[in-house]
């Protein structure tokens, strides 16, 4: 499972559109499982299943018919398409919604139905663009269980596009961090986090205004990344411990709403590597 992590507008979807044969790159090569997709873009649809972000083509169909039609269009016979539909609706617990049009479902349910259409008609590569957007935890678990099953049983490769750091850390084997159209790093999540090893992150949330009159807080404010009432400071563990002690024992504590100390995440890696946006979700 390979991931593309980056904020909105980083170029993840553009790259995916090139991989799926929807957009021809100006230069460079794209090789998918031994096939040249720049020269033969029409082969992409015979190698991969793509879950895009839009569902307008399916919105007015029932879940059942959307899945069955997609299976037919992926080349399955009528009987095989119906069997594949029934299997995937059962696997994702979508049976109670089978007769309802996608447009009438909640965002997360509609996303799960679209995910179901990506699973029918087996492909060795799944390209999933933000598959779990808007889903509740139950649906998310169903998605990752279905993906894991296909990886274990069929050796399926997954390319996941996400701006969700927690998801990226949990499910990915390798991740490319993308910013402004460039890959700024590519490694395992653990390998990337080792880059910022040693540093921890201290988050402070103030009740109202930060008490900038205090010298300690004023000095901290100069180096913190401020996001409304939330300040984020990167520090060595020792320094962070001292900071917590000072902030929580002195007069600043009265102004403090919440604080937390965390080990580095992929978001820290992204910022350390020079990512200029703060659009990653946690």
């Amino acid at each position: 499972m390979f991931g593309l992590l980056g904020p909105n507008g980083a170029g993840k979807s553009t790259l995916v559109r090139q991989l799926t044969g929807l957009l021809r790159p100006d230069s460079g090569r794209i090789d998918i499982l031994g096939h040249d997709i720049v020269r033969r873009p029409e082969r992409a649809s015979r190698l991969l299943a793509y879950l895009g972000q839009e569902s307008t083509a399916l919105d007015e169909l029932t879940v059942s018919l959307a899945v069955e039609t997609t299976a037919r269009l992926r080349g399955l016979s009528a009987a095989a398409a119906r069997a594949a539909r029934d299997a995937v609706l059962a696997e994702l617990a979508l049976e109670p919604l089978a007769g309802r049009p996608l447009a009438k479902l909640s965002g997360g349910q509609r996303r799960l139905a679209c995910f179901a259409t990506a699973l029918v008609g087996e492909r060795p590569l799944l390209v999933l663009d933000e598959p779990t957007t808007g889903m509740d935890p139950v649906a998310r678990r169903a998605v990752w269980a279905a993906v894991d099953r296909r990886r274990a049983e069929q050796g399926v490769t997954v390319l996941l596009v996400t701006h969700n750091v927690i998801e990226a850390e949990t499910v990915l084997d390798r991740v490319a961090v993308v910013d402004e159209g460039r890959v700024i790093a590519c490694d395992t999540p653990g390998g990337l986090k080792a880059l910022v090893d040693g540093d921890v992150r201290l988050d402070l949330v103030w009740r109202e205004e930060a008490p900038l009159g205090l010298p300690l807080i004023a000095a901290l404010g100069a180096r913190a990344v401020r996001n409304g009432r939330r300040w984020t400071v990167r520090a060595t563990p020792d320094e962070a411990r001292d900071l917590v002690a000072e902030v929580t024992s002195g007069p600043a504590f009265a102004a403090l709403d919440d604080f937390s100390l965390t080990t580095p995440s992929l978001e820290d890696v992204y910022l350390l590597l020079g990512g200029r946006h703060e659009g990653l979700a946690r």
Binding site: R46, A57, L73, G75
Partner: protein, 262 residues
């Protein structure tokens, strides 16, 4: 490393059937209000014009010509509303919102998507055209005997108008332009279709001859005669068929371009 085995392409006819069936099912979900509008518009036009056209033994030859033109024009107008206008809007919306990506990332021939969708929109017009033709014959005291010709007029005029509608929707660079083209096409079919051509100035008649829906109207209008000129009916329907083939081929090309655009 050896290359992975490619999954099979889906064949033209099965995938056309799958698209057709899926599109047809949308009528239940989304299209019903607009299908009603299409029919009511045509019924309304006929009721209005009934007030100025005499029928039966009291009518002149000119009135009889007008009655035939009004009923045939209003009937084919239902096809223009749905197959041209609504289909142009549908493809325009699909293109603008990225909905074409779904089809473009499936191994399905472009013609299956375009023809399946166009066929479904042509099918949406069947109840409305039947109702309009039957009510029109009753209102204007025209013969029902040859209404079976609708079984040819609806698919052939449907193919021609759906092809034009699909091409408009897929070629338009913006969704608003697709909507505009669809509306204009339908307005042209209305303004040039429901009145008898002999009442029109010559340049307008030329314009009318350029409109594919005209040939569907003419074919249907001819069959209201006691002894229809079947050769002329066949020629009109042949024009619809040729326009249908050409416009659907254009729409298929437009789809390929639109599906792999920036």
């Amino acid at each position: 490393m050896s290359a992975a085995v490619l999954a099979p392409r889906s064949a033209l006819l099965p995938s056309l059937g799958a698209v057709y069936r899926a599109q047809l099912s949308r009528a239940r979900v989304a299209r019903i209000p607009l299908l009603f509008v299409a029919t009511f518009q045509s019924l309304g036009i006929m009721v209005m014009l009934r007030g100025v056209v005499s029928t039966g033994s009291g009518g002149s030859a000119r009135d009889l010509e007008a009655a035939r033109a009004v009923v045939a024009g209003s009937t084919v107008l239902v096809v223009a509303f749905v197959a041209l206008n609504l289909l142009a809007q549908y493809f325009g919306r699909l293109r603008a919102t990225g909905g074409l990506d779904h089809y473009a990332t499936l191994p399905v021939p472009a013609a299956s998507v375009v023809l399946g969708t166009a066929a479904a929109y042509a099918s949406f017009t069947v109840p409305g055209t039947l109702l309009t033709a039957v009510v029109g014959c009753a209102l204007f005291q025209l013969s029902w005997v040859h209404l079976w010709v609708l079984a040819l007029v609806v698919p052939l005029a449907g193919a021609a108008l759906a092809g034009v509608g699909a091409a408009c929707g897929l070629l338009a660079s913006r969704q608003e332009i697709a909507t505009l083209l669809g509306q204009l096409g339908m307005s042209a079919a209305l303004l040039l279709g429901v009145l008898p051509p002999s009442h029109m100035p010559t340049p307008i008649q030329w314009l009318r001859d350029l409109l594919p829906s005209t040939y569907g109207v003419e074919a249907l209008a001819r069959t209201f005669a006691t002894h229809p000129d079947w050769a002329a009916v066949a020629a009109d329907l042949a024009v619809c068929a040729v326009v249908g083939v050409l416009s659907l081929a254009l729409a298929t090309r437009a789809y390929r371009r639109a599906a792999t655009r920036m």
